[in-house]
């Protein structure tokens, strides 16, 4: 029987149970509490908290999400702390962080993978219960004995069959991704913990959907594009921009969307066409953010943006949208893994 600790939230009556070994953040989210967070991996700092009473173990004392000064002042990250006693914590919260679908940890079997680009593949896992998540969310994958849990976004849609699909990019020298690509065999069991993420598709907002992705940011944007086919309220055709290094890094998006009924405008942009010996790229070249104005007609502030990809891409896009086009920050969604 796993030990449980009671966690009290300062400034409110709320308390929640946290299993021994579970992080303060995820235990609270499992109970439906809107504790502030974004990345779950210690990078963004959104879940910083003050420990007013009790003791915790910090799983990642060097996590970049906190400045040294903040640590000196006693701040910790809720996504990296497990309780060793009952605790009272002071942490930011908001309704936007409480997911309609409470995250759970469960076993899942690897069922296969399909290549999408030379370094990205779709990895499929099957669980015994229906797969419940919103388009654009992510889950933590725990590979037994291999590194820390990693966050990957789902590329499919919630379903009754218990299928969870992720588009994962092989990271040179990366322990977990190389294990997934080279060692994992169909039937192998992993643990999935999810769903998490605040950059999910807002189904009730009628603005034109614009998905902007680079690299493995492909997964959440594909999921959102698939889900767009089931909306009745959206105005205009969803638009997707994808940035890759060479033409080989551009996925076959119509194939990925096959069967979903989604009709979208897809604009691939290649940043280093000359690095691609033998291929003739006749399409757009440059960086994704350079094409947003060219590919979208009408005021950008009439659109709802979903971004996923390398931090410099997200920064450039956000700067353009907010500073140049006055798009409200509330209309731009991305999970900040930095």
């Amino acid at each position: 029987m796993t030990a449980q600790f009671q966690i009290s939230l300062a400034g409110s009556e709320a308390t929640y149970a946290c299993d021994e070994g579970d992080t303060l953040l995820r235990a609270g989210l499992r109970q439906g509490l809107g504790l502030a967070y974004e990345c779950n991996v210690g990078a963004c700092g959104s879940c910083k908290f003050d420990l007013l009473e009790g003791e915790v173990d910090d799983l990642f004392p060097d996590a970049p999400g906190l400045r040294p000064k903040e640590r000196e002042r006693g701040k910790r990250l809720a996504c990296q702390c497990v309780p060793t006693s009952n605790c009272t914590i002071k942490i930011r919260s908001g309704a936007e962080y409480a997911s309609a679908i409470r995250p759970r940890r469960f076993a899942a079997r690897f069922t296969g993978c399909v290549s999408v680009t030379p370094d990205m593949s779709i990895f499929s896992f099957s669980a015994d219960t229906p797969a419940e998540f919103l388009a654009g969310q992510y889950a933590m994958l725990e590979i037994p004995g291999v590194g820390q849990p990693r966050a990957y976004s789902m590329s499919n849609l919630g379903n009754r069959d218990g299928n969870w699909e992720f588009i994962i990019r092989r990271v040179p020298g990366g322990r977990v991704t190389n294990y997934l690509f080279d060692t994992l065999r169909p039937g192998d069991e992993i643990t999935i913990d999810g769903p998490y993420g605040v950059a999910y598709l807002r189904r009730d907002i009628p603005r034109r959907i614009v998905g902007i992705a680079g690299g493995s940011g492909l997964a959440p944007v594909i999921s959102i594009m698939k889900d767009s086919a089931t909306l009745t309220t959206t105005q205009g055709t969803p638009v997707m921009l994808f940035g890759g290094r060479t033409s080989k890094d551009i996925p076959d998006v119509s194939k990925l969307l096959e069967g979903s009924g989604a009709r979208i405008e897809f604009h691939p942009i290649v940043s280093a066409p000359d690095a691609d010996a033998g291929a003739n790229w006749s399409g757009d070249t440059g960086f994704v953010h350079e094409f947003i104005e060219r590919k979208l007609s009408g005021p950008l502030s009439d659109c709802e943006f979903y971004l996923a990809g390398p931090p410099p891409m997200i920064e450039s896009v956000v700067r353009l949208l907010v500073a140049d086009h006055k798009v409200p920050a509330s209309q731009i969604h991305f999970d900040r893994f930095f």
């Binding site: 502030a36 000064k69 930011r92 956000v318 907010v322 500073a323 920050a329």
Partner: protein, 102 residues
């Protein structure tokens, strides 16, 4: 332009800030940097945090929510995720009161 007093000079210690909520203006942050006073909007342009809850260092204030940094003197957004400057006000000290020209 009229002078609107916001607080007394001794209500804001050097190296700290004070949040003030005058009528018909959004919440303001009064900063004291080595005896010089600066007034900018208190609500971060990126989210809803109060900059008065943030750390002040080297003439910059760091928003407590996402760690975006702003220049106190010019209001300029210095680091992501903030990309828009905080509005600044012409600040003066009159008769021991810090205030702005509105």
């Amino acid at each position: 332009m009229a002078f609107l007093p916001l607080c007394k000079t001794d209500e804001v210690e050097s190296g700290s800030s004070l949040r003030v909520e005058p009528d018909s203006l959004p919440p303001l942050a009064v900063f004291n940097l080595d005896g010089e006073f600066f007034v900018i909007h208190d609500t971060c342009t990126h989210g809803d945090a109060s900059l008065c809850d943030g750390e002040i260092e080297d003439g910059e204030v760091e928003c407590p929510w996402h760690n975006a940094k702003f220049c106190i003197k010019t209001g300029k957004a210095l680091t992501f995720p903030a990309v828009e400057a905080q509005k600044t006000y012409l600040t003066r000290v009159v008769d021991g009161h810090v205030g702005i020209e509105v």
